[in-house]
Symmetry: C2
DNA sequence: GTAATACTGTACTTTTTAGTACAGTAAATA
DNA sequence: TATTTACTGTACTAAAAAGTACAGTATTAC
């Protein structure tokens, strides 16, 4: 039964068919998305009202409903858009020929500045809050964001193993460990508003400690079997 | 102005003064707390209605309002109560004379079975969802739960350092690293309902890997300065 | 120019829920 | 027994928000 889906022809490809009459205003839609984005990120799904979105976008409420079927669809559109923004430039492999320690520290800085950015924290908070009510969205978010980064890191690790710089039995496990150490508990606290943004000094110390521990487990030392 | 608060005498210490008339029924209150607890943990603050609590506790809505001023107070009472339950038996020091590796693995199992328990996951989810609206409660939750456990673990590490089994420069950092590794990303996924409960085998492997990495960084090897 | 569609503003319906009013009953103290 | 307080059930108020109806204006394709 499921196989058949692959052969179904998409129902009427009415793309930019210019269907007679005044066309929709793309700038209106963009304005709605911008307004909704900031409100959803600030207040979450439940506490953001469509009226507030309309007001902030300087648009009639009915205009919103002409672009998005309902509140859920609007929310999904916002999350999709923000996930795309969050994607990291996949330039991990460029680090493959640096000294391992330096590369890991550099990466640590880039990752922390991403995940501690106000936007990322807000998105993460909203996702967690809505986890039970929007499980599909969470999945999209995870695949588009965290997962891609981890895959790229795994490939970098594999390259270093090939170069004989690291000794890693289980790459997925090591990847998870690196990210766990880099995130640490500061991230959890930042999510819960329990800690102010860490200072540059704190971050530096944190990242160095994480990389040191990671390398003590995986770096190839002179004179090993 | 604020200082004065410290000197204000508590307004009439009517403790168990038996203030004439029918006394409040403690079992009603307990029933309300029990019902509210399960509902708040399931649906969070906003989506739990007082009517639902009343119905589940088999009690009149007004009875709830006679025991708790409003919904927020009821919620706070629930969180307090659950925090107290979550506290781990502080028997960490009993592990001080076991072999370090065995102790860390044992501890890892206890910690994971705590934080992956349905109750803990639910509490954590509710806390995260309500973080922005109830910052004071979050603080209480953190001090009563996670923080106490970390302090106890830090003392255990210090004891091992004293015994010459470990070499740890910065105990808070090492503590954070241990907990980060033990929690890993599985916990995050479990919170977001992205992963089913990990199997015993997976947990075992995960904990072993975490402890191995931790010890490779902090265990004293024969023949070191 | 005409028909079709987009957009606006206002007002409305519907639903949900926190919190209250009230009238009555039950259980304790004095 | 009289009084005071706890509890119940029903019905209510008030507010908030999703979504719709409608009447009118603006903008485009044909």
């Amino acid at each position: 039964m499921y196989r058949m889906v692959q052969f179904i022809i998409p129902p009427a490809p009415k793309t930019a068919k210019a269907r007679a009459g005044r066309p929709k205003d793309a700038s209106k839609k963009a304005g709605i998305i911008r307004a909704a984005s900031s409100l959803f990120m600030k207040d979450g799904f439940e506490l953001t009202s469509m009226e507030a979105v309309a007001k902030k976008a300087d648009v009639s409420k009915l205009t919103i409903y002409s672009h998005f079927a309902n509140k859920e669809e609007l929310f999904k559109a916002i999350i999709h858009q923000r996930c795309d923004q969050q994607a990291m430039p996949e330039c991990f492999m460029a680090l493959a020929h640096l000294p391992v320690e330096k590369a890991l520290i550099d990466l640590g800085h880039r990752l922390t500045s991403l995940i501690f950015s106000p936007d990322s924290l807000r998105l993460q908070r909203v996702m967690q809050a809505e986890a039970t009510r929007h499980p599909q969205i969470i999945k999209i978010f995870f695949e588009a964001g965290p997962k891609r980064v981890r895959v790229a890191f795994g490939e970098l690790l594999a390259e270093w193993v090939r170069q004989g710089k690291l000794r890693v039995d289980d790459i997925p496990v090591a990847t998870e460990q690196y990210f766990s150490l880099i995130k640490g508990e500061m991230h959890q606290k930042a999510l819960m508003l329990l800690a102010p943004k860490p200072t540059a000094r704190e971050l530096n110390k944190h990242i160095r400690a994480a990389v040191t521990l990671f390398l003590s487990g995986y770096q190839v030392k002179a004179g090993r079997s």
